[in-house]
Symmetry: none
Subunit: 401 residues, 2 copies
């Protein structure tokens, strides 16, 4: 369903919803006993929620699609990630917690190596260290161009972020990265008349950059791509009529939450601290997104047992959540990260919705295979979850007489 | 998901996918023991694939829609059959293996009976024999019109195919078949200015046809409908980035595969021969569609036991397929053809996906009722299968960072 349809039906209520996202929650079975991380974990509290609630497996983007963290979260937040796409520059800004303003233009940069003829020899400058990157970025910060403020920020290794702040800028221009070696970096081209000014600014930036970096082989040039502006999307409050807060320690997730107008709370980074933040702010919002990062990190590291233990740690905090007496709880992930694959994957993600108003199914434990026969379905669109949560929270009006 | 979304995410890989389509696979239970054909069949190999893989029931077109062979196959191939529609003329050409060129205009023809006033008495000319049809078609081949090449080909009984080949032709014109008796055949009308030339050519063809057939009661006139051109669809290679080959003995299926750019292989017609074709061509493509026709023919004939035995015959060839070590296997049908109905039906079609990267469900045999609780879902869109196969074959990139 489109957001503008939901938007017309939402109504206020004194109810509270908690969305607990365990990053990369889903897995695939290990050989020894045929269990996934979630199935192997001892999770009495999540099992109780599954038993009293309604379960299923959701697809954040679509069948066969492996979501990045941004699209995965947008899907879970109820925003169709195919429709609501973010540029690479904006994602880079979100990832390092750069406070992007409305009219800023962001691009993702790579330090690269060019030869004496200006042809690209290495698109990643031999993956220089993050420390070298920081030194080079501080050199590039010396570039001054009248009428625009320029930010250059280290991301990691050869990657950095550039942001232009000024009037009448536009992100509608082409990449300078030709995506292959042996060629010169491309000149940026404006895709609309609005972007002419930005193209000239970038040309000047690149010219000065080339001079500044000339003696800094292997990082003697840069490639820019994914010019983009902070999207102007409808906020959670506008669409769902609910005051929302985000509890997430990592910049990327704080950034995505900010994009849709969530109030991003200051929080400690451990799971216990995040639940404390929830308790401390309980009276101030009606919707809480709480993000557990380390399930994904363990999956990416291929550490099955560590992923199990983080799931179990999260399970132990559930009683604190129940003590707050929320009207609706959703527990899910933004994608699967099977330890066996050491990467994000396309496999659908376990999901449970608990509410005194839901119609329970027969699922009595929270796990991938148990959820297949749940009432939410074995491969349902992630965007369905928020409307269902709002309904269970009595926040959606009857449609039609 | 739209094809252009998938298209941006596909990436190359050295992996191989086999799509085994048993035509009309799905059935409904017979009274004696409550089993369908697939449930009654002894299929140890398919059951093993179901147990190790993920199962479900797919809808080729949509809920309640009984697919023809064309739309059924397009759905299974990943092309939404509601969006990718083929004209009746093109379908007739595919059905008899006519090698339609890019700018050809094809129409489906009926021999019909008109009275002395020119009013239609029988839209099917008493269903004349195929032999009579062939004689009449050879008479119509004498029609010569300057600037255009005309092909007239027998389909079956009263049905034939007409194809115009020439420059600046268009299929945008209306049928001459009024779809009722007691009225005159309609004059074709152009729907766009591009079709004016074609309208005149068809008028001339119909005038000459009327003279030629005048003494051939009951087949003394023709009705034409479904003027259409070979569609210009994105090919498998363009959309899915994979080199594909089709192994199918019947013209209709070879034709549909050709429409989406599959390399249609020469093959013997028996199931064993088709699997030999697969073995012989294994190194030359990365995607193989293998079509078993006779499950459908048996269903259409209402021969439950014969359909069972063809399913069992196919099952016996599965070890040959496994010996090739494909990365992904899909087994399904293009629609259901329950023997009890002697016809295609709308019932969802059993489907299994087997891959070492899939997350198995609890289904341990391949049958209609077993598949209901499978991880793919009990009524999922057929077009989901190819993206899922590509994901399991590691041929889809992560979406977003």
């Amino acid at each position: 369903m489109e957001l503008d349809f939901i938007q017309k039906l939402v109504k206020p209520a004194g109810t509270k919803i908690v969305l607990l996202v365990m990053d990369g929650l889903g897995g695939i079975p290990r050989e020894s006993d045929g269990l996934t991380e979630l199935e192997a974990a001892n999770t009495p509290n999540l099992d109780m929620l599954a038993k009293k609630g309604i379960c299923g497996l959701q697809q954040p983007v679509g069948p066969g699609i492996t979501p990045g963290s941004g699209p995965g979260h947008l899907g879970v937040f109820g925003y169709n990630p195919v429709k609501y796409q973010v540029g690479r520059g904006v994602l880079a800004a979100l990832g390092i917690g750069f406070d992007l303003q409305s009219d800023d233009i962001a691009a993702r940069g790579n330090f690269c190596t060019i030869d004496e003829n200006g042809n690209i020899m290495d698109r990643r400058a031999g993956r220089i260290s993050t420390e070298e990157n920081q030194e080079l970025c501080s050199l590039l910060r010396n570039i001054k161009i009248p009428g625009v403020e320029i930010f250059v920020e280290t991301v990691k290794e050869h990657r950095f972020l550039i942001v232009l702040r000024g009037e009448k800028l536009s992100g509608d221009l082409t990449d300078t990265d030709p995506q292959e070696v042996g060629r010169k970096p491309l000149q940026p081209k404006g895709l609309t008349t609005e972007s002419e000014k930005t193209v000239k600014l970038i040309e000047q930036f690149l010219e000065q950059t080339r001079n500044i970096l000339a003696d800094h082989h292997p990082a003697n040039m840069v490639l820019l791509r994914g010019f983009s502006e902070k999207p102007n999307w409808p906020t959670y409050e506008e669409v769902f009529g609910i005051k929302s807060a985000a509890i997430a320690a990592y910049p990327m997730y704080r950034g995505v939450a900010k994009l849709i107008g969530m109030n991003v709370l200051e929080t400690g980074a451990t799971i216990e601290e995040e639940f404390s933040t929830l308790e401390d702010n309980w009276n101030d919002s009606d919707f809480f997104y709480l993000h557990v990062k380390k399930t994904d990190s363990a999956g990416e590291d291929g550490d099955f047992d560590r992923k199990v233990s983080i799931i179990e740690k999260t399970d132990k905090e559930i009683p604190r959540l129940l003590d707050l007496n929320p009207d609706v709880i959703i527990v899910t992930g933004d994608h699967s990260t099977p330890s066996l694959m050491k990467a994000h994957s396309w496999h659908p993600v376990p999901a449970l919705l608990y509410s005194k108003n839901c119609r329970p199914d027969k699922v009595d434990s929270f796990g991938e295979r148990a959820c297949i026969t749940g009432g939410l379905g074995p491969r349902f669109p992630a965007v369905d979850m928020i409307p269902l949560a709002l309904a269970n929270a009595k926040r959606i009006e009857k449609f039609g007489a």
